[in-house]
Symmetry: C2
Subunit: 599 residues, 2 copies
């Protein structure tokens, strides 16, 4: 048995804990987590981005999903930890496992800061009827973790008004209006991107997410201070000054839990249970009234303001130019020089690094050649196979710029394609084009429109097992709620994950197709919701395509496109050429002109 | 003040009722109600199909919707009853009115059999906090109604197995399985079409709905009798015998309320609160446990079995032939002889009456010429204007056959059309064709697909303010739940009104466009959900178009159709010609051949 587990069990013994639960979350439910928070990896040795563990005196079990079965098997080999493959027949989920394992009077422990409040409430419902105790405040993994990495405390920085579009003062005022309307005394905000958006600050505490590790409490009363719980080393200079002007007081990062414990009876607190950790909720005294809502900050943040909208166009012009250069480079060099998937990632970063106001990648670039393209969450390893002048390279990449966040996927043909490859590419392209060209009445959600993107594939008996699109932040998380394109309706999450599309919301439009063992195709543009005409029938809406890079004309089966598809494609390609060509060299420009000619 | 209101107020005085509420419902929430139930019409003189009234000692108020504003104003003229126009700015709804009108200690009365249980619960929530009393069991309108028409007691009849496809015995068995799974002792069914479907009986108690006025209670235990509360005069001969064989005991229609009052403590009763009246719910003793579910009978009934599916094809062949003959007749006679909208209705009925197994219209035919077509719920009056050889006639009509229920709309061009008329017709046609041609994965609901029908109109900044489609019964109600096509998602009604589309469900596909003061266009086919291929992506689904009648080629702007639209249209027209032509005379056949030629 792995030494870390043995030491954890001793600690469990000392604390009378019969089962210890370890999640992968940080304290904020972030998509990516810093090294400090990687307890599950420390205990198990499994390095995947998703997984949960339960350790009892007899067993140690790790759950992970299909993306990581092979990797987890390898990494857990010899550790004494059993792998539970999520979703496989006969495999109990974590709730079923705990329900059947724990006996009356026994005790489940976890660090409540790393367990979402809704999950903890479900555990309570299941276990309390069995008279199992739950201890929320034990970070046993932390106790035994020698040489735990320090918690990140990068310097926060201010996002100027020319980028944010609305001052923090005004945003706070709008939030206070919401609190007033809802008769709430304060709101607790724990989502890192919401805090960054609200105060117009950015940080570098989470990989790919330019945010600051922090919690915030905003009181309704203008005369009361706002509390920002953060590492004091992160905040100095002009940031400190600016926050002071906004009556924001910096408190110690961990102090929020004590602060919450002392909330006065009768206080009315607004929060979003689906987003906070269970320790926050648990520490709120019984006499405090909780108003559980979909975070108003999430909603405000998703609707980009006019300055953000204009900046996003700039960011996408820059990023589209970079991706277009990359495609040119790849098409002209694959087969001539040794290029691996990883080389493509590096080349992409090299090109972006030349760009003014480029900050960092918005996620780990997926560069997947041939059959690797069929692995949806593929990450290229260094070294890797050489890219040959045949088949497809799937490139999913994005950057953070001062002017916004990009996310683009192009599937690049290298050499001759088969007829079926072209048919598949074209069906995915038709879905992408048609969705971006949709007209709809205000009130529509992504679930109303998703089928427009899938219909060309569905007509061929094909599909992709992921959503068609996700919301995208402004120099914030590349995946953000509440807007999306998906077709399955979850009534309880309809407003938090499938919101009505508002002018200024940015969503990805990324249908795909994955032929196992052969290739993957995905075509992704970001599209921004816009108002069009208003008349007796209501307010009509449309999308503006932000992403500016050509589709691959060599991969298109022209006969599959109907007149409308051709019009949309030609119109998009003309716009791409007009916008991008001034930033290319002569060879690139000549090539792009040909690539974007009318079909 | 109208004499009926004066007499009602005396009755209210006697019973200490301060406000009396009158709805338009029968005791079963039927869409159409018999004369016996028309208390609101008796009291007010207003004959529209929708309306609610409240009478107090000082006021008498009637609410109705936009369809009936003009008619209600005329009919209420001089009655002393005030008209409240629903949905107009500043007009309180019935809940707001009662809340502001009734004072502490006062009393609201109504006949609970005519008020839906959910509405009554909302009234309770609003009024009990004001300490207003509610009396559920006073039929004061009935008390004062001299010469009230007798309640209908038409003869019930049996639907043979060759039409129903599944024996009543088997259906009851399936329902008992559901009760068992849900640990329920019995189910209360009050929806007339559900009772008719379950026992394979039909009646003639409600206009356009071939049902029997009745309630049913089905116990889970096979050894216990099923109770059917109905007028004993309705049931005799082979129906009586057949029901006896099924251990169905006939009880007096009104006796259900007493029966329910005596349910034993601890009994577990299944019912669908959204479908039952408030008196049923109110009479259930407190010790009885209620399992509120979406009616399992509604769900089973909506999924047509293979025999019903095959029969429906026959019914639509017959009905499509009838409508095709009507179109031929109209196109060749409009302008040559005097034809009014009402004549078209009569001609339609004449043609259908020639057909074997035709029973009756499934709803009041809408025959709307010119600007009348823009009135969505138009009913032609006799006499009316002559139909001229120009513009559109909108014909929405359907029939009940032993082989099923039909519902079809065709918009018929008479003479030359303007370019914009053709554009409008073609956009509606494109929506109809594309929805009927949709491919989708099992799990999709109508809200996922609705936009396919609206997209061509939305792209032109146009829309229709009604759903794209409703479920249709088998020789039952022409409007039935839970399947539909609509785009607004109501999370609380998603499974009862926007269910996952199952093989065998029949839904209408009826986009439209209404240009006020000019014309209306609607094109409606019934489409039946079918399975197509199942593969690694899941179970794919498609639609089979049941309705068989040509679209109007004179009204089509061919340039608007893309290649796919043309293919779908030509394929449909070929099928129409192949199926219908054998039943036409030589002139009709020649005409149809031309009408259905490839475009």
């Amino acid at each position: 048995m792995r030494e870390q587990i043995i030491r954890l069990r001793k600690e469990m013994d000392k604390n009378n804990i019969d089962a210890y639960l370890v999640m992968t979350d940080d304290f904020h439910g972030s998509e990516y987590v810093g090294d400090y928070f990687k307890c599950r990896e420390y205990l198990s040795g499994f390095t995947g981005s998703a997984g949960k563990m339960v350790i009892t005196s007899k067993e140690a079990v790790l759950w992970t999903d299909g993306r990581y079965f092979i990797q987890a098997e390898e990494e857990l080999n010899g550790s004494g930890i059993e792998l539970y493959k999520m979703g496989e027949p006969g495999v109990p989920d974590i709730f079923e496992y705990l329900e059947s394992t724990l006996k009356e009077g026994e005790c489940l422990g976890f660090d409540g800061r790393t367990v979402n409040a809704m999950i903890a409430q479900k555990l309570e419902r299941i276990l309390l009827r069995k008279s199992v105790k739950i201890v929320y405040d034990c970070d046993l993994a932390g106790e035994i973790w020698k040489n735990r990495p320090e918690r990140s405390h990068s310097k926060a920085w201010l996002l100027g008004l020319c980028y944010s579009g609305i001052s923090a003062e005004k945003k706070i005022g709008l939030l206070r209006d919401v609190l007033k309307e809802n008769l709430c005394d304060a709101i607790i905000i724990t989502a890192l991107d919401e805090i960054a958006w609200l105060f117009n600050i950015r940080g570098n505490d989470v990989e790919y997410n330019p945010v600051l590790l922090s919690y915030a409490i905003v009181p309704e009363n203008k005369d009361d201070n706002i509390l920002l719980f953060a590492d004091k080393r992160s905040i100095d200079g002009d940031v400190e000054e600016e926050l002071k002007k906004l009556s924001i007081v910096i408190c110690d990062y961990n102090n929020i839990y004590n602060y919450i414990k002392k909330l006065e009876n009768g206080t009315r607190i607004m929060l979003d249970k689906s987003g906070i950790n269970s320790m926050i909720l648990k520490n709120i005294p019984d006499g405090v009234k909780i108003k559980n809502v979909i975070s108003p900050v999430m909603q405000m943040k998703a609707v980009k303001n006019p300055v953000e909208m204009e900046n996003e166009r700039t960011a996408h012009l820059k990023d589209g130019t970079a991706v277009t250069k990359l495609i040119y480079w790849l098409k002209h060099n694959a087969g001539k020089m040794d290029i691996t998937e990883f080389d493509v990632v590096q080349k992409m970063e090299e090109i972006r690094n030349e760009i003014d106001n480029y900050i960092e990648p918005s996620f780990a670039t997926i560069s997947a050649y041939g059959s690797n393209g069929a692995i949806v969450h593929y990450e290229p390893q260094k070294p890797g196979d050489k890219i040959l002048p045949k088949g497809f390279l799937l490139l999913d990449t994005g950057g953070h710029y001062m002017e916004g966040t990009t996310d683009i996927t192009r599937t690049i043909s290298l050499g001759e394609l088969t007829d079926i490859q072209k048919k598949h590419y074209t069906a995915v392209l038709m879905g992408n084009l048609r969705l971006s060209d949709a007209s709809f009445l205000y009130g529509c959600r992504g679930t109303n429109l998703d089928c427009i993107a899938r219909e060309p594939l569905w007509k061929m008996g094909l599909d992709y097992k992921h959503g068609t699109g996700h919301g995208v932040g402004y120099l914030l998380n590349v995946h953000e709620s509440p807007n999306s394109f998906r077709w399955r309706i979850n009534p309880s999450q309809i407003n938090s994950q499938d919101a009505v599309l508002e002018e200024g919301m940015i969503t990805s439009d990324e249908p795909g197709l994955y032929i196992e063992g052969e290739y993957g195709i995905r075509l992704e543009n970001l599209i921004m919701c816009r108002k069009s005409e208003e008349n007796q029938y209501g307010q009509f809406m449309k999308f503006e395509v932000l992403t500016m890079a050509p589709f691959d004309r060599d991969a298109i089966d022209i006969n599959m496109l109907n007149d409308d598809d051709r019009k949309i494609l030609n119109c998009y390609h003309r716009t791409v050429y007009k916008n991008i060509s001034p930033y290319l060299n002569a060879e690139e420009r000549e090539w792009l002109e040909n690539e974007t000619k009318d079909i």
